[in-house]
Symmetry: D2
């Protein structure tokens, strides 16, 4: 169709996104729930499928879904990073054409209720995530969380910023600082215990958010990332995306009322968006970890 | 335009929906957060505004929004039912043309983190709600919650159901039962403490869900509603909407694996939807409570 | 559990919500797509299932889903009102315990692209809806649409409104009026052609929105409802829910710029919400039509 | 805090996301609407703000928002690519610390209704997008669209794929192929007319989707990308993300019915996800275009 154009196929991958698998294990009366959303993506020698529709290199996405369910049974599910690695190693070697596997997992958390051991309520304190890459040159693991909404009702200012002809913002010495944390962190080496490592990193994020007197959300971001690196020696890089969930003090003076940091309008759009990376100076090359 | 048609104006109301107000109070180092989404709606002698665009009876929705903010400052915010009543009484008497006020509030919950007293994380265990109606003939309060996702991993069966020519479902003696609770309850009289009443009702819902051996989601619904009435004498009617969040056991036999209640597919659509009302036999007439 | 309480079961229904069925018919090269989201709900003698978990009166929601698919094949799908009636009549007589059936359908519209006759793009001009009730005493049909977003960039004012101590809003003689129409209309008798009736009603809504000089959104609402009644003799009642999608003129004076109705901020929350009913004076009793 | 760790700041940027600006121009009776969602992000010498909270290099995100509004007035808004370039050039030179500006815009389309020239309905055929980068070394423009949902009801097969022990999928010679197109394309040089270029690219995507007999969604993807390159000489690279919106034929045999490609279940999760790039062999280095 376009040989004179010299069109080529660039980066590509395909897979099954958002396979929802719930595994329930029963140890006497004490049940456990693992509730995952698994997305797999494979890449490799896929030129012919794109150019001619020759599917001989394509392991169907339906098969990938089946594999997720079968592996959940055959191997069980503990830390999502371990399960993602298991799947990615399998897929990377599953077929001659597949060179690279990417497995992303989200985990929804459930807390026990009742006394029977088999009743649960879904928790809302953020969603745990991981993305794993495996090919013949190595393995890469990024862990993280998202949808963790936090707020400091004081201990935050924003002053001394640059001004130009479009600047109308007043400086403030005491503001509400709220954000919805999306964080991902790369491991230089696998920790002994993924769950413990995740718990430590999450705690570091919360501790730094709550414990940092903030002159800007950028400063808070850097403090959060640094704290993860300090507390988790196995982690070499942290990426954070922090929307500034603005809380504007409402002007109540038309009604003869003052408002000393008491009544706020929680705005949605637009929002500030602060994105940043904190890493060890000697962090190894990321390879495909962030793709 | 249509006098020969004899067109008339029927039920109508107008207001400001989803005013997001956050109130922060500072008692030394221990701050408190109330995070509300307030919707107000007024009705009364509004024929002329509809027919001729004469706005003299219309208190602007912008004014309603301002009133929410000003009242949050002037009167503070404790239980959402009290705040809704305060607003509704004000609006119902605010202008000669307004005969009836409806105020609905959603509350987002925040939990403390850190040691400073001013750091919070947003909780995800459902959203507290209320709807209040006030007019010269009375006051009605409905409280509730939504988005509370619960699961029993056993203790649920579904058997003995009716069958017709379109029935293919197999009976099951042990299934996962999961739902996202949306519940509303009407008060025969105001409780001494709205917060305590809400806490008791929520606990009743969770206790009944976890503690009921379920032959159907309808039976669980009835048990949940009944338990609220038993535990909360001030409540006279409970309405529940329970989507059946189906967890289907995955057929792993093509892979030589059994699956004894271990690996489930969490489906989204379609879903069973069970809606029902449980009330005291002597419950007073609801009036406009559910509108 | 609660006999001393005299707890009773109130209104209830159960069914399968959001069964997504797509029917494709092939007439030579010209294919047709009907893309529906069907929700069914049954009620009747359901006391025992709630009280004791005796499911003998329960036709499973899974069976209801199967019936939707089988009926789409057996009877085809033309106007959604006809398909809903077909299903509702079936369910209302399907089992001795079932007394009443409610069937709600949403239809997504697809437009042709290409020349092959089998390629389509999903249209975004609102979603067509209907809700049908059938029991032994009668049949009720409500048709409608939602998610139809419209805007007048002039021809709208808001003046002469009531003021109180919380009013700060300025009057305006020329504003942007935008809303997302959700409309439902009840039929006094079935039209000869549901599709044609729907088309006429939709056109009436658009014509009235565009053609009415608006002193308030209430006035526009009334004009829209009236126009439907004028143009569609088979329709006896129209209910409209019109969020006021505020477009606020941005104050550009700090930058030495005027803004004569040119640059607007499209706000999301809070929003005015105008709800109203327009009906024929001789409209028959609605029965369960709006439930 | 962590000097012994040798922590460093990596890639970062900050800005105001999702500023909703609507510009209305009035040429006699014929009004025009431009409805944009603008996100700006700046980067440069931002180390101090992260490390010490020194904000002297930070042009507030509030200022960025103001600039969007002021520029919409001062310079007007025609093609979103031009408006994004205007903003990005301004920001890249706005302050000594800012080295790089990224501006992303989404445009919502409105179609005329009525005869007055000032009434519109929001169109739902996808959302136009662009992302622009500007720094002292150059300018990069990526255009695109998303949320364009398309379907072929025949002309699609999936056969000859790889199989392993987890493969249960049957081959099919005639299936429904549906996807929600998200496409972005990079310009080697600016076209004479961004709007015309966008229109041509969109038409190329639709034409290729409808006109390609599909042996796999990968093949369709490649055909779509190639067609854009063929029809738009100014475009050097196309990236596509195509979720496979599965339509599964429903098994009606339990009800004594056949189903020859007529009745389908429209599934949502999981879904196949096909991502790929098609580019000219001589495409210049992308630089930061895709960041």
């Amino acid at each position: 169709m376009s040989s004179s154009l010299s069109v080529v196929l660039g980066a590509n991958r395909y897979g099954k996104a958002e396979t929802r698998v719930v595994r329930i294990t029963r140890h006497g009366d004490a049940h456990r729930v693992k509730d995952l959303n698994v997305s797999t993506a494979l890449s490799g020698d896929m030129t012919e499928v794109h150019l001619s529709g020759d599917n001989s290199a394509v392991l169907p996405t339906d098969t990938q879904k089946n594999t997720v369910y079968a592996f959940a049974k055959r191997h069980g599910v503990e830390a999502i990073e371990d399960f993602a690695l298991l799947l990615a190693r399998h897929f990377a070697g599953a077929h001659r054409a597949v060179r690279h596997a990417r497995v992303a997992i989200e985990e929804h958390d459930w807390e026990r209720i009742g006394s029977g051991g088999y009743s649960f309520v879904r928790s809302g304190r953020g969603t745990r995530t991981c993305v794993v890459h495996v090919d013949e040159s190595g393995e890469w693991v990024v862990s993280g969380l998202r949808n963790l909404v936090v707020m400091n009702t004081t201990g935050s200012e924003f002053r001394g910023f640059a001004r130009d002809e479009y600047t109308t913002l007043a400086e403030t010495g005491d503001r509400v600082l709220a954000t919805e944390v999306a964080a991902s962190w790369r491991h230089a080496e696998p920790p002994a215990d993924w769950d413990k490592s995740h718990e430590t990193a999450c705690q570091a994020l919360l501790t730094a958010f709550a414990g940092t007197y903030s002159r800007s959300l950028q400063q808070t971001l850097y403090a959060m990332g640094t704290r993860v690196l300090v507390d988790c020696p196995e982690i070499c890089e942290v990426r954070l995306s922090l929307p500034n969930k603005h809380h504007f003090a409402v002007d109540l003076s038309p009604f003869g009322l003052d408002n000393e940091g008491e009544i706020f309008l929680a705005a949605e759009r637009p929002y500030g968006l602060i994105e940043g990376t904190v890493l060890r100076e000697d962090a190894p090359d990321p390879g495909p970890a962030w793709e």
